[in-house]
């Protein structure tokens, strides 16, 4: 549906040239919800604007629905844009127009008749749950309601693609959830291709099928959300995920020296990642039963799911005889669990006090 090849964007600024995008390649299939996550300044907003040519890439190809957007003339581009809805962080609604008029706006641009506009706008009002607000002005609405108007407006021209530029970043967590649910529902019911730009991993986790992590104008990594979440490769990805899944050691061990060899009174800390069905298996119980003499302390645990696939992350501390610990490691190695050995760490004495 969307294919970006070798997208470069260089801005001229008073301080010199700014290389915002450095050779981006991205392919987004029809009906997918594709997340693009990055810190502010990473280039994600520029990237999404390259899809509908609000920003013209310095070089590279932008193929949307078989058309190379970079080659269209002004009027062809305007028509192509009618197939691409967009919603914004700050909603960008007309303050001088009512909710109804805002949703009707893209249709008015195409000179659609009043009757046809009503036939289109009324169901949209219902879809976003704002039927009773039709004649109010945006200033009278809450942030979540404004974004609902934005979504309805973006859908008015029956687009095939919906671009969401930090659409939930100005909203509180609860409202974010409801807007994400709405986007998800629309994606499923209208088989719309959705691109979500965000700096919040929660948003990616909640609705995206795939994710690309962008950093300094390049895509650091991309793939299915589940894969990227459970096996992040890039430092920046790990950082994003750590917001949801703490990567830190429990407080009692934080700041202690980590040793790769056994020291007196220390525990061997392991980070375990369970994915899919293995998250349901009683792996730890089996380990304790099988490997005699091993002591297992649970230090941190988190179970979550992405699109119905459970995944868990635990930090455990092993102690006991060297043989017992070794056999426990071997046991875990043979299971469907990703094991990361952190090392031997002693309890932080300060934390005990």
């Amino acid at each position: 549906m969307i294919k970006l090849s070798n997208i470069e964007k260089i801005y001229d600024s008073p301080a010199g040239k700014v290389h915002a995008l450095k050779g981006i390649n991205l392919e987004i299939a029809k009906g997918e919800i594709y997340g693009i996550i990055g810190l502010s300044g990473a280039g994600k907003s520029t990237l999404v604007r390259c899809i509908n040519m609000l920003e013209r890439p310095t070089s590279g190809k932008v193929i949307v629905d078989g058309q190379d957007m970079t080659k269209l003339n002004d009027s062809e581009l305007r028509n192509a844009r009618k197939n691409i809805g967009m919603i914004f962080q700050h909603f960008n609604l007309l303050s001088s127009a009512t909710v109804y008029e805002n949703i009707a706006f893209p249709l008015k641009l195409s000179n659609v008749s009043k009757d046809k506009i009503a036939k289109k706008v009324n169901p949209l009002l219902e879809l976003v749950g704002l039927k009773d607000k039709a004649n109010q002005y945006p200033a009278q609405l809450s942030g979540g309601q404004k974004q609902r108007v934005g979504i309805a407006r973006a859908l008015a021209s029956n687009p095939k693609i919906l671009l969401c530029d930090e659409a939930t970043s100005a909203l509180d967590p609860q409202t974010t959830k409801s807007i994400l649910d709405l986007i998800y529902t629309i994606n499923k019911n209208l088989s719309l291709t959705v691109i979500v730009i965000t700096h919040e991993m929660q948003v990616i986790k909640e609705i995206c099928d795939k994710v690309a992590v962008i950093s300094n104008g390049v895509i650091a990594e991309s793939g299915k959300v589940l894969d990227v979440f459970t096996n992040p490769q890039h430092e920046i990805t790990k950082e994003f995920i750590s917001v949801l899944l703490s990567n830190e050691l429990p407080a009692a061990f934080r700041g202690s020296k980590i040793s790769q060899t056994k020291t007196e009174g220390s525990l061997l800390l392991l980070r375990l990642n369970f994915l899919g069905e293995s998250a349901d298996d009683p792996v730890l119980a089996q380990m304790i039963r099988t490997c005699h003499g091993v002591e297992c302390t649970m230090l941190f645990g988190n179970l979550d799911e992405i699109h119905g696939v459970p995944f868990g992350r635990f930090i455990i501390g092993l102690s006991g005889s060297e043989n017992a610990v070794q056999s426990a490691l071997e046991f875990l190695g043979g299971k469907d669990v990703r094991v990361e050995v952190i090392g031997y760490v002693r309890r932080n004495s300060a934390a005990l006090d």
Binding site: N92, S95, S96, A97, P138, S157
Partner: protein
Amino acid sequence: MFAEILPLLTKALGETIYMVVISMAIASIIGVPLGVLLYTTDKGQILESPALNKIVGSIVNAIRSIPFIILMVAIIPFTRLLVGSAIGTTAAIVPLVVASIPFIGRQVETSLKEVPAGLIEAALSMGATPMQIISKVLLPEAMPSIVAQLTTVIIALVGESAMAGAIGGGGLGDLAIRYGYQRFRPEVMIATVVVLIVLVQLVQFLGNTLAKRLNKK
């Protein structure tokens, strides 16, 4: 005494209103599009055209830097060409219009600058043409501010029309100078000033009310 001043006052007030209304109407027809041009041809805007923007901007600045009293005299030949005479209420309209066009242009430009850039971006993302952005986004969104700015222009026109009156244009300024000052009749002067104050208050009140009604923020 009041009975004697009243007809003078009403006639002068009528002339002032005539000058202001006609000048404002003509100046707006040209000045509002001028403001749109100044804004839309600026850097990064929908009709970006740095050369045109610079040329028009310089002309606007040049006219605005000429004190009205000098402008009025300087363009007498032009006024004569246009209305056949350089004296009289109608003749006064010409310099009033010339002075107000660039003023309105800048005021409208200022109002348009208050429209959030995100709105233009949103309209572009929906496939709006530059003309549609001007007529359906920029002007409606800036309207409360434009009304407030134009109110200021009208009030400035009331003052300038008094100046125009002083060199034979009629109106309240003419009355105040000829009767109040030259014939030593302070009561005429005071009455004129009172009428001017009331007039300006009324214009400001109407402008504020309209701007407030248009503002849905």
